[in-house]
């Protein structure tokens, strides 16, 4: 299984790489300017990062191209998830109440990405922006007190977005969420 991490300048981008490596995935951190044609992968992670989704979405490089043309699953994390929603016609911008550190997430609807995760669960966050309006092509399946869109998925394509950070040690079920994403990539490959 080969899954690359697209670096959007996150503090925890390298943690995503570490979690994948621990799960025996063939993984690399790549710049977000890498052309899609150079990627021979079974899945992609769009990392979080410092760019603000409102003014600096262009700093996310070729992420739009990956979402338009990928024939493999993609999981966006934090700004990666916000970008995904924005790209498919949703809205994202400054959160009324940003979340930093420990937060409780409630699952609203079952989803293959959260298989085995019990609700509510504790996650670690670090975001100033959030998804305001989800595109029609997506469904939301988790929330927190201050952020309605903590996890969402495309209704037809294997694209997933999470606002919190499953890659850090303090997030409960973080590794399970990555394992579920690997399962999604494996079944897509078939």
């Amino acid at each position: 299984m080969r899954i690359f991490v697209v670096d959007n300048g996150g503090q925890w981008t390298h943690r995503e790489w570490r979690v994948l490596k621990y799960l025996d995935v063939d993984t690399e951190i790549i710049p977000n300017t890498t052309p899609l044609e150079e990627l021979d992968v079974d899945g992609l992670i769009l990392s979080g990062g410092a760019p603000r989704i409102g003014e600096e979405a262009l700093m996310l490089g070729n992420s739009g191209d990956y979402l338009d043309k990928a024939d493999f699953p993609i999981m966006g994390i934090c700004v990666g998830a916000q970008f995904m929603a924005l790209h498919f016609g949703g809205e994202a911008g400054p959160a009324e109440i940003p979340e930093f550190g420990k937060t409780t997430v409630t699952i609203e609807e079952e989803n293959e990405l959260f298989k085995g995760v019990t609700s509510p669960f504790q996650v670690w966050e670090s975001h100033n922006d959030e998804v305001k309006v989800l595109p029609d092509s997506f469904k939301n399946f988790a929330r927190s007190d201050n952020c309605a869109h903590q996890a969402f998925a495309h209704k037809e394509k294997p694209f997933y977005g999470v606002q919190f950070h499953p890659e850090v040690e303090h997030t409960e079920f973080g590794e399970d969420i990555f394992k579920n994403f690997l399962d999604i990539c494996a079944s897509w490959k078939k």
Binding site: D7, N8, G9, G10, Q11, W12, T13, H14, R15, R18, Y22, N32, G49, A50, P51, M59, F100, G101, K102, W124, E125, S126, V168, E169, H170
Partner: protein
């Protein structure tokens, strides 16, 4: 999972290839640089020369203990006493990034002088992942310039060798245990040392105060953990804040500094939760600090911030 044996074998192979001639290693005596020293020594043997810098901002007895430990492990070690040089570089520096850069530059100048003496072209550092991640670059924001990455002078003329660059502290400890290093469990202590545990200008007088406060925090928490009252935190120390407050000591007015106690639970330093230290232990720390440091400290507070939003150290 992480396999220390595989890592060590590969690292030694890479190091043999990367280093020709002699190399200097910057040994703070912490887990990272000690593990790096042993690893590089396995690769290039006595072509490796260690330098430990006593910056004047080290913890109680630290430099003496470190020198003894490293020499016991067979590291060819030189100790540079540089308190004056560092305090001079820090004079007037108040902003945390300015302090970190002053410290980083001073370290490198000392290493360069030493490297010149032995004609070494390489500087080995125990840099780990959080150091370069937090130091920023390109898209990544600068959280803090680590002395060994973001605070390096632009004109340094040695090649860097950093065998632990992709590891986090928990993985470095695994490598340390595999290599039989006794201090593999030691708590992290940042390179800039006590200078970044003093908010504002880090004078040597203030370093003296925070050194004693750090010693008390370490001593009390270690005793409490040994007595089974709590788990030993991942990192624990005191910060000398810039707040001065009013107190009453011996029926007279006191006006002294505030010390903040910090203790966190973490695995890799990239996220952290504040430690739930029992109140009786915190109280003991508070009483011991204020009673043994009268005229200096008359207030003690406990930091209940996680990372994020805070960082572990205050600067």
């Amino acid at each position: 999972m992480f396999d220390p044996e595989k890592f060590v074998n590969k690292a030694i192979e890479d190091l043999k290839e990367a280093i020709s001639g002699t190399a200097v290693i910057a040994c703070s005596g912490g887990v990272d640089s000690t593990v790096a020293a042993v690893l590089v020594a396995r690769a290039i043997g006595d072509r490796l020369y260690g330098v430990h810098v006593d910056t004047g901002y080290m913890r109680k007895n630290e430099s003496e203990d470190v020198a003894e430990l490293l020499r016991d492990m067979g590291v060819n070690l030189q100790v540079a006493i540089a308190g004056e040089e560092f305090s001079e570089a820090l004079k007037g520096a108040v902003e945390p990034e300015a302090k970190r850069k002053a410290i980083g530059h001073t370290f490198i100048r000392i290493f360069e002088r030493y490297a010149k003496e032995i004609d070494a072209k390489y500087l080995v550092q125990g840099t780990i992942a959080p150091d370069w991640i937090e130091s920023g670059g390109d898209l990544r924001d600068v959280i803090k310039s680590h002395h060994n990455v973001g605070a390096l002078p632009e004109d340094m003329d040695m090649s860097l060798v950093e065998p632990l660059r992709d590891l986090y502290k928990d993985e470095v400890r695994k490598v340390g245990r595999y290599l039989g290093i006794s201090i593999a469990e030691k708590q992290p202590f940042p390179g800039p040392g006590l200078a970044i545990r003093i908010i504002g200008e880090a004078t040597l007088e203030k370093a003296e105060i925070v050194r004693e406060a750090c010693f008390i925090v370490e001593d009390e928490l270690e005793k409490a953990a040994e007595a089974g009252k709590m788990e030993i935190p991942w990192q624990y120390f005191a910060v000398l804040t810039s707040a001065k407050t009013v107190g009453v000591q011996g029926d007279v007015r006191a006006y002294g500094h505030t010390v903040a106690v910090r203790a966190v639970q973490s695995i890799d330093g990239m996220t952290a939760a504040y430690s739930k230290v029992p109140h009786e232990v915190l109280e003991k720390i508070s009483i011991r600090i204020t009673n043994t440091m009268p005229g200096k400290i008359n207030r003690v507070v406990y930091d209940i911030t996680n990372k994020p939003p805070g960082t572990i150290e205050w600067e």
